[in-house]
């Protein structure tokens, strides 16, 4: 089952396309990271998936083919928007009460236990909580709805390191319980630990999509003499870093591909991979289901 599936999906604001020709199929059971520069279309894609925005072109379905925004979709998805939105003048207990009444499924016992664990008193007003506590409150309310898909827009951007760790620990524990997670993030360093599926957006288009394990296995860093860097033509080159004597090529090649004489091959990390693609908006890696079923794999473009 795919938790989010899009075909030809586009969203236009005025004359500007925030998202274009987006074809994605995110399988269930993953923690998916949505990355990309500011203005790449991350929030637009998330808003379309949760039904807060209507497509200008194409279609988006969730939870195995349910139209985004339909009652069945809303029922199975919990969304925490940017900056952990809570009503500052309401207490934690009030927020719990309101959210419980607005949703036909709400695990009140879970929410109360969780807030107790976090040391957040029910009487405390949201506006008087720390940023980390507000984020945890928003997350608790989302998880108490017992969603099958949890969508988070830049959930940890404003949090200090400990609050960020604790927040992600809660999200990942939910993932361990079987909730699929889709989150946008700027924090590349933590990505490799957290995400096992990656989507990289650039200028409104999907640039990279796939399981992290597959993406890492399909890329290598070749290091060798700078003079020969331009002659390398065996496999598509994503990004080149060149010194006077030595050059590093990030190439789309696996362990089975031969290494040229005089060159060394190293495995790449996720952060290195993402940075390379961010620096080369023209390159694409879209293996697996990202291009939709039956379509061929897009190789490079430099």
């Amino acid at each position: 089952m795919n938790v989010v599936e899009t075909s030809g999906l586009g969203k236009r604001y005025g004359r500007t396309w925030a998202l274009r020709e987006c074809a994605l199929a995110i399988p269930a059971g993953h923690v998916t990271a949505l990355v990309g520069p500011n203005g790449a279309g991350k929030t637009t894609l998330l808003n379309l998936a949760v039904g807060l925005a209507e497509p200008s072109a194409g279609a988006v379905t969730v939870l195995g083919g349910v139209p985004a925004g339909s009652p069945a979709a809303l029922d199975g998805i919990a969304f925490v928007a940017q900056d952990a939105p809570v009503y500052k003048n309401l207490s934690a207990g009030d927020m719990l009460h309101v959210t419980g009444n607005l949703n036909h499924r709400f695990d009140r016992a879970y929410a109360q236990d969780r807030l107790a664990e976090l040391g957040i008193p029910l009487k405390q007003k949201a506006g008087r909580m720390s940023g980390g506590q507000q984020a945890q409150l928003a997350l608790t309310l989302a998880l108490a709805r017992r969603p099958r898909l949890l969508v988070l827009d830049e959930p940890v951007a404003m949090l200090d390191p400990i609050a960020r760790h604790d927040f992600m620990a809660t999200v990942l524990a939910a993932a361990a319980d079987g909730v699929s997670v889709l989150l946008s993030s700027h924090v590349l360093a933590e990505l490799e630990r957290v995400a096992d599926y990656l989507i990289l957006l650039s200028k409104g288009r999907v640039q990279v999509a796939g399981q992290v394990e597959d993406l890492l296995a399909a890329h290598r860093m070749l290091s060798g003499p700078a003079g020969e860097a331009d002659r390398y033509a065996d496999r598509p080159v994503v990004h080149v870093r060149r010194g006077e004597a030595q050059a590093h090529l990030l190439v789309r090649a696996g362990a089975q591909n031969p290494v040229p004489d005089g060159w060394e091959a190293h495995p790449v990390g996720l952060e290195e991979l993402v940075l390379a693609y961010l620096r080369e908006p023209g390159a694409a890696a879209l293996p697996g289901p990202a291009r939709g079923r039956g379509a061929t794999m897009t190789e490079v473009a430099r």
Partner: protein, 151 residues
């Protein structure tokens, strides 16, 4: 992490070692040093996830690898338990081996090798040793009867 688990995992983000492999290596290390013994329970997947804030599939991959290596076994509904040991040699023998290694280290030092030189020489000899052994095993039909060439 839940109280009562014999070990706690940690992560070294700067090591360059994949996260799942760090978990595998920590279990192996704890087995070699005797912190873990057969029958001990590994931390529950959800507890590892919540304490390190890592992807659950990473922990599952590590636990699967340990099971494939025959070091652990999963008991349905209970968790993952150690079932093998990695310290193959009894303590008195280890002490003897350590003493002879110390003698070698003193000789290498006397000959003018520094620390890095000793590590390089030892690693190289170790590699040769196992390559030779693997070579003689894969070829190893008794008919060949030939011993590995020693220069």
């Amino acid at each position: 992490m839940a109280a009562g688990s014999a070990i706690e995992f940690r992560l070294d983000p700067g090591s360059g070692v994949p996260t799942y492999l760090q978990l595998v290596q920590q279990v192996e290390h704890a087995l070699r040093l005797g912190y873990l013994k057969p029958g001990d329970q590994l931390p529950k997947v959800r507890d590892v996830v919540a304490s390190l804030a890592i992807n659950p599939n990473t922990v599952l991959k590590a636990y699967k690898e340990l099971e494939t290596k025959g070091l652990t076994a999963g008991r349905p509904g209970q968790g993952t338990f150690i079932q093998a040991t990695l310290s193959q040699v009894a303590l008195p023998e280890l002490t003897g081996l350590r003493r002879s290694l110390s003698g070698w280290l003193a000789a290498a030092d006397g000959a003018g090798l520094d620390r890095d030189g000793m590590v390089a020489l030892f690693s190289s000899a170790l590699r040769d040793f196992y390559e030779r052994r693997r070579g003689s095993r894969t070829r190893g039909s008794p008919a060949s009867g030939e011993t590995e060439g020693v220069a």
